[in-house]
């Protein structure tokens, strides 16, 4: 990989630019310290059912702002289900039913009076399967900003470039932003989706296995990005990669069979977990 050091440098400073960019529009901006005091996401006794089947059961946890939280656990244990509950992405699935409380900024998201548009603009999401629109790369990224009423070409171009750089895909696509996003490879599509989520400038970012289709270099860059973003964002990341969880997160939650088994500081989860199940899982003796 020649000349990546310089590229990386450029990318990092761009990310920083974006982070500063992001801070300004926050209305009645409190000091970061005050903002980071109370939880952004709070769930208490939250359950979700797919018909009669349990998706997640009785989840109680608090997620703090300006930090990275990792969700780990075996396949099918409800990690995606919980993540998708936070921005109400399970609404489109038939026969889904929820119980208990799930709050974002003190607002119960399953309340009838929740403003879903504002919720989703503030809580961005990267899905487990890449799902770009069948549109050009540019239009994919500009979709969110356009919804927010940004029309000026230069401004859109700026946002698109910043977002693509932050998601470590700019170098691969910069020559032809008019190309269809469907013509990208799986890993490129996943990074495009990360860029698309960033372009909306959310405050909370939900990432469902964002690196599962990426090579180690791209993974490293996404992890760098997460590191950059965590000073201003709240990030919840689902991952099957224990090293990744240990590297990027401050706190970690271990899910099993739809239940939250343990939620603690990441070092504790990995070095000295309270529950036997957690220990078995993180040391690879699960099942």
């Amino acid at each position: 990989m020649p000349a990546t050091a310089a590229d990386n440098q450029a990318t990092k400073s761009d990310v920083r630019m974006m982070v500063t960019l992001n801070r300004q529009p926050t209305p009645n901006s409190k000091t970061p310290a005050a903002e980071c005091a109370c939880p952004v996401i709070r769930s208490s006794g939250f359950s979700l059912y797919y018909g009669a089947k349990i998706g997640v059961k009785d989840i109680t946890m608090e997620i703090y702002p300006c930090s990275v939280m990792a969700i780990i656990g075996p396949s099918g244990c409800g990690k995606s289900t919980f993540l998708r509950s936070i921005n109400r992405m399970n609404d489109l699935i038939p026969h889904v039913r929820t119980e208990g409380l799930l709050e974002v900024d003190g607002q119960n998201v399953y309340d009838k009076r929740t403003n879903l548009i504002n919720l989703r603009q503030q809580v961005g999401m990267v899905f487990q399967k890449p799902n770009p629109f069948p549109k050009s790369i540019f239009d994919n990224i500009a979709y969110g900003p356009r919804l927010q009423g940004i029309r000026r070409k230069e401004e859109l171009q700026h946002i698109v470039e910043q977002s693509l750089k932050a998601a470590a895909i700019w170098d691969e696509v910069k020559d032809d932003l008019r190309k269809s996003a469907l013509a990208l490879s799986g890993g490129q599509q996943q990074r495009l989706c990360i860029a698309r989520a960033l372009a909306t400038r959310p405050r909370v970012l939900l990432m469902d296995e964002p690196c599962s289709a990426l090579d180690p270099i791209a993974t490293g860059r996404i992890e760098d990005l997460i590191g950059q973003l965590q000073s201003t964002y709240t990030i919840v990341i689902v991952t099957h990669n224990m090293q990744q969880a240990a590297r990027v997160s401050e706190r970690a939650a271990f899910f099993c069979l739809g239940e939250l088994i343990e939620y603690d500081r990441t070092e504790k989860i990995f070095s000295n977990p309270t529950k036997k199940q957690t220990e078995d899982y993180v040391t690879g003796r699960f099942g």
């Binding site: 921005n87 992405m89 609404d91 489109l92 699935i93 038939p94 026969h95 879903l116 548009i117 504002n118 989703r120 603009q121 961005g124 999401m125 899905f127 399967k129 799902n131 770009p132 629109f133 069948p134 549109k135 979709y143 969110g144 919804l147 927010q148 469907l182 989706c193 698309r196 989520a197 909306t200």
Partner: protein, 324 residues
């Protein structure tokens, strides 16, 4: 005991190791059976294709003598259709225009309604109602057209005469409305298939960025399904242009082009109605009969072209749904 048998079935069966190359006998059997299978399938396909081609050939051949005597140009451009006059004239322009006129008018009603209904079915109705509504819409397509025709003559025509004071209730408007209703199930069903084939992921992507349902529909779902929607419209057009009984009953059958052109309250006549209505009175061997065959050729060519267009868009729609 049980676990032992499990490991046995899962392990490679060394005792039944088979040669990877075909023996000459197996090779021969495979060769013959694949060729026989292919031949049978080919015969079946060829028969149906041949039947269609023969019909086409028959219709074209029967119309050739007439077109040679009367002239293709005259046939396509003259507005006079007087098959039974002493000096018969066969100008099909009014019939061609009549067919296109009611079909397009019908689509102007049916397309917006059909697309809205398709969106409604696929994205807005609750799951329970959706599962009932879709089959009901498809059953509508199975109502025999003569029943629609009865409705047109006995209900719609008198109502329009009373309500709007039209000189006749059987007119282009009446025929277009009924054709629109008949084309709707096709349009709704095909468009709904295209829209719901796009899958949940695409919609989720849009919602997750803060789009409303309307924005998601207009900016993502409908553009992504546009090939299927166009195919739906073309199929609806084919349904309307080929329909016979309803236009025969509802259109008034006057060989004229409406003047002014937008006046739907005038009677018109279509190609299909002309063929169906006059075939019985046109004796074999007379130019009248060949003229009707010539009209049939025009109709065939039109539906043929529409068919090609719809096939093209349907295959594009399939590709679009597969990719996203």
């Amino acid at each position: 005991m049980e676990s032992r048998s499990l490991t046995l079935t899962l392990g490679p069966s060394a005792d039944r190791r088979r040669p990877l190359a075909l023996t000459p006998g197996e090779d021969l059997v495979g060769f013959i059976s694949s060729h026989v299978g292919r031949a049978v399938l080919f015969l079946i396909t060829a028969t149906s294709v041949l039947a269609v081609l023969l019909i086409l050939l028959f219709v074209i051949l029967r119309s050739v003598p007439f077109l040679r005597d009367f002239g293709v140009g005259e046939f396509l451009t003259s507005r006079l259709w007087r098959p039974t006059a002493d000096e018969p004239v066969f100008g099909a322009l009014t019939l061609i225009v009549g067919s296109l006129y009611v079909s397009i008018a019908a689509l102007l009603f049916a397309v917006p309604v059909g697309i809205l209904a398709a969106v409604f079915l696929s994205d807005i109705l609750s799951w329970k109602i959706r599962n009932v509504a879709k089959p009901v819409v498809e059953i509508l397509a199975a109502i025999p057209s003569v029943a629609y025709g009865f409705f047109a003559v006995l209900v719609l025509a008198p109502w329009m005469q009373r309500r709007f004071g039209f000189s006749t209730g059987t007119n282009a408007l009446n025929a277009s409305i009924i054709l629109a209703v008949m084309a709707l199930p096709t349009i709704i069903s095909v468009a709904e298939d295209a829209i719901s084939a796009l899958g949940r992921e695409l919609r989720e992507a849009s919602y997750s960025l803060g789009a409303t349902r309307l924005e998601t529909m207009v900016k993502v779902v409908i553009p992504a399904a546009h090939s299927g929607i166009i195919a739906a419209v073309v199929l609806g057009m084919m349904r309307a242009i080929g329909e016979t009984m309803v236009v025969w009953m509802a259109s008034g059958n006057a060989t004229q082009i409406p003047h002014p052109w937008w006046d739907l309250s005038q009677s018109i006549r279509t190609m299909t109605a002309t063929i169906a209505g006059e075939m019985g009175e046109a004796p074999e061997g007379m130019p009248h009969r060949s003229a009707l065959f010539a009209v049939g050729v025009v109709l065939l060519l039109m539906t043929f072209m529409l068919n090609i267009v719809s096939e093209y868009f349907l295959s594009r729609a399939k590709k679009a749904a597969g990719k996203s």
